[in-house]
Symmetry: C2
Subunit: 367 residues, 2 copies
C-alpha cells in the first residue's frame, strides 16, 4: 500500500488528463473531482477511474473542447447542453453557475443533457456546503437494474447526493446509489469466490442468485424492492426525461460496451437557500441538536458509534489528511503503466516517484 | 364486506368530522383526503383512521379553528404556521396556495410547522397532477425507527410523495414510507400469529426479530439499511428542521401515547413547473416513452405485468369506481359504533344505512 499526499495525486491526475487532451484548467477541475473521492475513502470513484476515463478519451467518446450552452433559462431554472464534454470537468462549472444564481432566487434548478459520468457526489457536496446550501444532485448512469418484475437491464444505479449544512456538527451528506450495492461488490465477490446475499442481484432470468457471476450477467436489485425501483425511476425522470437526456437502452454504456458510443446521460441539480425558510444560524443550531439526539441515542450491543450520513467520509478525510491517501499496489501498478504510456514515467520510476515528477511538471506548466 | 360508492362514504365522513367540530368546508376537504386513500386501495389511511382522528379531537389535541399564518414568504418560498389544525383539512389549502404561486416562479417550496397528520399522499398527488406539476411532499411522523446502530425510537416512517405527469400513460406517483413496512404489517402478523421476515424490525435491544410482538416493542427497519435511514433523516430535515417543527422525542405521538400532546410535526412541499425545462407536451411524450419501455420490457417468469409507481393505485381507483369502495365488516362495525356515539345512526341502522343517511344529511346541510 502506498500513501501519498493529496496534492501529489492531484498533480499526477491533472498531468494524465492534460496528456489526454483536456485544457489545463479542465484537467485541474476533473482531477479535483476524482481526488475528492479518494480523499473521502470512496476509492471506487477516484484515481481508479483514470484509466477508464482515458480509454474513453482515446476512443473519441468525449468532446475535449465542448461548447457548453445554456439552452434556456429563467430566474429559477437553467437548461444546459453539455455537448458531450467530460462530466468531471464541466459539471463543477455548471454547479457554480447554479449556485451563483440561487442567491437571487432562493431556489434554483439546473438540468443537463448530453453529458458524461461526473464522478462521485462528494466533490459537489463540499462545494454546496461551502455556500451553506441545501442541494440535491442526481444523475442517471449506465443501466444495470431492471424494473421490478422485469429482467432487462434498463435502469442505472442512479445515485442521488443531498447536502444539509450544520453548525458545530459535521454536515449531512447523503450520497447513495438506489441499488442495494454497486456492481463493484459483485466483482469483488467473484474475485474472492464468495457467495453474495440473495438480495443483491438477480440472474439473467430474473431469479435471485447468490452467485456473483450470475448476478453480473443479470441485474442489480434496488434498495427496498419496488421502493428503490421507484426512487431509481425518479432519478431517471429528473436527470434524463426532464433534462432531455438519454435513458435506458439509449445510454452509451460507460463500461462493458459492445459498440462504444457517447453516454448521452443527464443530470439534475436543485439548490435551496436555507435562510428563506429560517435564519441560517437558527437552522444550523437546530440541525446540530438533531444530529446530537441521533448520535447520543442508545446504541445496539457491539456498536461503538452512531453516524449520520456523510460523517464516516468526513472522518476519512481527516484521517487521510494526516496519513496520506492510500493507493493499493495494484492500482499503483495500473497507474504506473498508464503514466508510462503517456510519457509521464521512465522505466525506472515507481508509482510514487512518477506521481511526484508529474505533479512537479504540472506545477511548472511543462506537461 | 360492504361495497359503497365514494360519494356516500364521503358524505358520511364529512358528517363525522362536522360532528367532531370541524367547519363544514374543512370537514369536506378532510373527508376528501381520507376517501382518496380508500378509493386508491390504501385502506390503512382512509376511513379506518376516522376513529383515531375523532379520539384526538375529543382529547383536545387539535385546534378546530386554527389561525393558519404565513410567517414569511418570498417569490419562491413560503413558511406556514399551521396552529395545530387538522392536517387533513388544512394542508390541502396550503398546497393550493403553493401551487398558485409556482406559476409565477417556476419553482416554489412551502414549509409547515405546528401541524398534524395529513393523511396519505394520494390526495395531494392527484391535486398536483391536475396542474401537471412535478411535486415532492414530505412529512415527518410519529417515531418508530432508530438511527442505524441504535435502538431508541426517534424517527418516523417519514414518507415522501412525488408526482410526475405523463401523457397517454398513467402519471408516476411515488408515495412511499422510508421504513421497509408500516407498523400495520406487524400488527397483522401478530393477529394472525405469523412470523415476520427478519429485515422488517428490531426488538427493543436492537436485534433482528421474526416475532411481530417483539418488533412492535422495538423499532421498524428502514429500506436499504443505512440508505433508508439517510432518506428518513432527509425527510426529518425538510419537514421539521427546515420548517421549525418538532422531531424525534418532541413529537406528540399519533398513537400509543402515554401523555397525549399535540403532534407538532411539519411538512415540506416543492413544486416545479415542468415547462421551464422542456415544453410540457414534449416532456409528457418522452415520459410516455419511458413508461412504455419499462412496461414492455421482458418479464420475470410468473410476472404478468410490470408496473410504474402509482399505477396499481390508479387501477384500483378505476376498479372501485365501477364496483364501489370495499369496507370490511369489522371496519363497518367500528364506524357504526362511532356514528351511533355521534347521533348519526339509530340502533336499527346498519353501516350502509347509516352512511346513506349521514350523506343525505350533509347534502341537506342538516348535520
Amino acid at each position: 500500500m502506498h500513501r501519498l499526499d493529496r496534492e501529489t495525486l492531484q498533480g499526477f491526475s491533472e498531468a494524465v488528463l492534460i496528456k489526454g487532451g483536456l485544457a489545463p484548467q479542465d484537467a485541474k477541475i476533473g482531477a479535483e473531482v476524482l481526488l475528492q473521492s479518494d480523499a473521502a475513502g470512496i476509492a471506487s470513484h477516484g484515481l481508479s477511474r483514470l484509466t477508464l476515463y482515458m480509454e474513453r478519451i482515446d476512443l473519441g467518446l468525449v468532446n475535449l473542447r465542448p461548447d457548453i450552452r445554456i439552452l434556456s433559462e429563467s430566474p429559477t431554472t437553467m437548461v444546459i447542453d453539455c455537448d458531450n464534454g467530460m462530466g468531471i470537468a464541466n459539471v463543477p462549472k455548471i454547479q457554480q453557475m447554479g449556485m451563483d444564481r440561487v442567491k437571487n432566487s432562493g431556489i434554483f434548478a439546473v438540468t443537463m443533457r448530453n453529458s458524461t459520468h461526473y464522478g462521485a457526489g462528494s466533490y459537489y457536496a463540499l462545494k454546496a456546503l461551502e455556500r451553506d446550501l441545501f442541494s440535491l444532485l442526481t444523475t442517471n448512469t449506465t443501466p444495470c437494474m431492471a424494473p421490478t418484475g422485469g429482467r432487462d437491464v434498463l435502469i442505472g444505479t442512479n445515485p442521488l447526493t443531498i447536502t444539509v449544512p450544520a453548525g458545530k456538527e459535521k454536515p449531512f451528506v447523503l450520497d447513495m446509489a438506489t441499488s442495494r450495492v454497486p456492481m463493484g461488490k459483485l466483482q469483488a465477490a467473484l474475485r474472492e469466490k464468495q457467495p453474495i446475499p440473495d438480495d443483491w442481484a438477480l440472474d439473467k432470468n430474473g431469479r435471485p442468485t447468490t452467485d456473483a457471476g450470475e448476478g453480473m450477467l443479470g441485474t442489480l436489485l434496488p434498495i427496498g424492492d419496488y421502493k428503490g425501483y421507484g426512487l431509481a425511476v425518479l432519478v431517471d425522470v429528473l436527470s434524463a426525461v426532464l433534462a432531455g437526456a438519454a435513458y435506458a437502452q439509449d445510454i452509451g454504456r460507460l463500461v462493458n460496451y459492445d459498440r462504444p458510443k457517447p453516454e448521452g446521460i443527464g443530470h439534475f441539480m436543485l439548490f435551496m437557500d436555507i435562510s428563506r425558510f429560517r435564519p441560517l444560524d437558527e437552522f444550523k443550531a437546530d440541525m446540530d441538536r438533531y444530529i446530537r439526539i441521533m448520535k447520543n441515542s442508545t446504541r445496539t450491543d457491539g456498536i461503538k458509534e452512531i453516524y449520520l450520513a456523510g460523517e464516516i467520509e468526513f472522518n476519512k478525510m481527516e484521517e487521510y489528511r494526516r496519513e496520506g491517501i492510500p493507493v493499493t499496489e495494484s492500482l499503483g501498478e495500473q497507474l504506473l503503466q498508464l503514466g508510462r504510456r503517456l510519457g509521464l514515467a521512465s522505466d525506472k520510476d515507481d508509482f510514487p516517484g512518477m506521481a511526484a515528477k508529474a505533479a512537479k511538471a504540472v506545477a511548472a506548466g511543462s506537461v
